[in-house]
């Protein structure tokens, strides 16, 4: 619910400090969008887990190639008690596509991370099995179909 947005913004600011690169709550989109530094992504997810008392639903992890330099990851999260849709975003430079895996914090990430890995080439460090998910076995190594370069 919209009334919970300021409280959430306050908590994120206090806990993440400089790692919270920006945030906005858009009534039109009915969502709270937070942009965090990639090193603090797991901390942000843990924080959301804590705020909701573990009542958190990871809807999806979406990756998007934004052009020449950056890749954007969006974690769609639903907080059950607060009834807030949170979009945690993080940007990765294309020459260093590495990020910590979220599987330990949110087990639902297991398939989504594999998909982002094979489609865009993002490496999720600490994922138990970062293998192909949708693509066939004979798909060439190092070719990522949803990259725009």
């Amino acid at each position: 619910m919209v009334e919970e947005y300021p409280k959430l913004a306050e908590t994120l600011k206090n806990e993440l400090k400089e790692a919270l690169l920006g945030y906005e709550h858009i009534a039109e989109k009915k969502a709270f969008v937070a942009l965090v530094d990639r090193g603090s992504l797991i901390k942000a997810l843990e924080l959301l887990n804590k705020i909701s008392g573990g009542e958190v639903h990871l809807t999806s992890i979406n990756g998007a190639d934004l052009g020449e330099r950056e890749m954007e990851l969006t974690y769609f999260i639903w907080l059950l008690p607060q009834k807030i849709r949170v979009l945690v975003k993080t940007r990765l430079p294309k020459d260093d596509l590495k990020i910590q895996s979220a599987v330990k914090v949110m087990p639902a990430a297991i398939l989504y991370e594999r998909e982002v890995h094979e489609m865009l080439g993002v490496v999720f460090e600490g994922h138990p099995r970062l293998e192909r998910l949708f693509l066939p076995e004979d798909w060439p190594e190092g070719v990522y179909p949803l990259r725009r370069d």
Binding site: E28, K29, K30, A31, G54, E55, V56, H57, L58, T59, S60, N62, G63, A64, D65, L66, T74, F76, W78, L80, K83, R85, L87, M106, P107, A108, I110, L111, Y112, M119, R132, L133, F134, L135, P136, P145, L146, R148
Partner: protein, 387 residues
């Protein structure tokens, strides 16, 4: 006894979309499950970003033949979200009606299939008879039974007349009575209870952690229903409360669907009663009027569906189009449900998450030690394992 791999798929009756599950079995008990998905990966996300926004609606409709309406609805809502378009009220009501009719036919379909798998063919026929009524109603409103192409960016394709409204009300009234009877059968019939109760149990905590959605989550007591929590279309004016069962077994997941079908009738009736007048569509630009990101989350028959689109000002094609379908989200959960259960319960557990169905497929039984392969027809397998 030696461990045996039971391979189900890529084509199998419990899976309309080809997926492959390798079950490690010890005697009759499933000890581990390994899913392999992607056999029908058509590269639709890539194709969506290579077509115009208008073409994308029709391509999105073809992601799933059964819940096609929800895909067009989510696609147009995501694009409207990115473009910043307000849809007329009447159009939002019409969208809700077709969306709920789509849910009804999808739920009745899977309930019928579940009954057939349990060996309760009479109820299967009854469910499917009523599904025909729903298909005809979709035809009355949209002009087509299946691929309706009803939702467009900025509204809906055609209006509804008072005569059509009265026809729909008439058909739905008698259907509610029959559905209440089927619900009673589901609650009391010994065959249904023997095959479904305590089969494929998953606790609330695990269901939530594994990110299950839709009736799969609500059958385990997780209260997530986008219609109730994040109202879209006309749901902000037609209040809805999620149907939740706490049992966590296949029976609960199927009961959620029966109750939701009844709820859908109520939603449609309310929409028809409160239908506002006015236009059903607004003119929209072909190219994106601004650089923005849009997304839409809706409650598809199988659970939460997400479309996420990146639009760039002046371009008529999205930069990135992402779709997260409900069955994909339910796969980690169904794997966990199957563990510890009997082979005989695999079909019922799989069907309880509603992964769509076909009936011509085969199952391979592989003995890992000898490497010997036997391919048997699913009906032979069902006869062997039917209780």
């Amino acid at each position: 006894m030696s461990a045996i791999d039971l391979i189900i798929g890529p084509v199998h009756p419990a899976l309309h979309e080809p997926e492959r599950f390798v079950f490690k079995i010890d005697g009759e008990v499933v000890v581990d499950v390994e899913p392999r998905i992607g056999f029908v990966h058509r590269g639709i996300e890539k194709a969506l970003s290579e077509r115009t926004f208008v073409q994308d609606i029709y391509l999105a409709e073809r992601i799933c033949g059964i819940c096609n309406v929800v895909h067009t609805l989510t696609a147009v809502q995501a694009i409207e979200n990115a473009f910043g378009i307000e849809v007329p009220r009447r159009a939002r009501y019409l969208r809700t009606i077709v969306h709920e009719l789509n849910r009804m036919h999808s739920h009745l379909l899977i309930l019928g299939v579940a009954c057939e798998l349990m060996g309760f063919d009479t109820l299967f026929m009854l469910f499917w008879r009523d599904r025909e009524v729903v298909m005809d109603l979709v035809e009355i409103i949209t002009g087509n039974r299946v691929m309706s192409a009803y939702n467009i960016i900025g509204g809906v394709r055609r209006n509804i007349s008072d005569f059509e409204i009265s026809e729909i009300k008439k058909a739905l009234g008698s259907m509610a009575e029959r559905l209440k009877h089927y619900k009673k059968v589901f609650m009391e019939d010994p065959t249904v209870r023997a095959r479904c109760v305590n089969v494929g149990y998953l606790s609330r905590a695990r269901t939530l952690a594994l990110g299950a959605v839709g009736p799969t989550a609500r059958g385990s007591g997780v209260e997530i229903d986008v219609r109730a929590e994040e109202p879209y279309a006309a749901f902000d004016e037609v209040p809805y409360t999620a149907v939740v069962y706490n049992e966590g077994d296949s029976w609960a997941r199927l009961m959620v669907r029966i109750d939701e079908t009844l709820e859908s009738i109520k939603i449609i009736e309310q929409c028809l009663d409160r239908m506002p007048s006015g236009p059903v569509k607004v003119p929209v630009p072909e190219a994106a009027p601004r650089t923005a990101e849009g997304f839409s989350v809706t409650e598809a028959p199988r659970g939460e569906l997400l479309h996420h689109v990146y639009a760039k000002e002046g371009e008529d094609k999205p930069i990135r189009y992402r779709v997260r379908t409900p069955t994909y989200a339910n796969i980690p959960a169904v794997c966990e449900m199957l563990k510890g259960g009997y082979i005989a319960d695999i079909p019922v557990t799989l069907v309880s998450i509603d992964p769509c169905f076909s009936c011509t497929d085969r199952v391979a039984l592989v003995d890992v030690n000898s490497g010997e392969k036997r391919v048997v027809d699913i009906f032979t397998l069902m006869r062997r394992y039917r209780k």
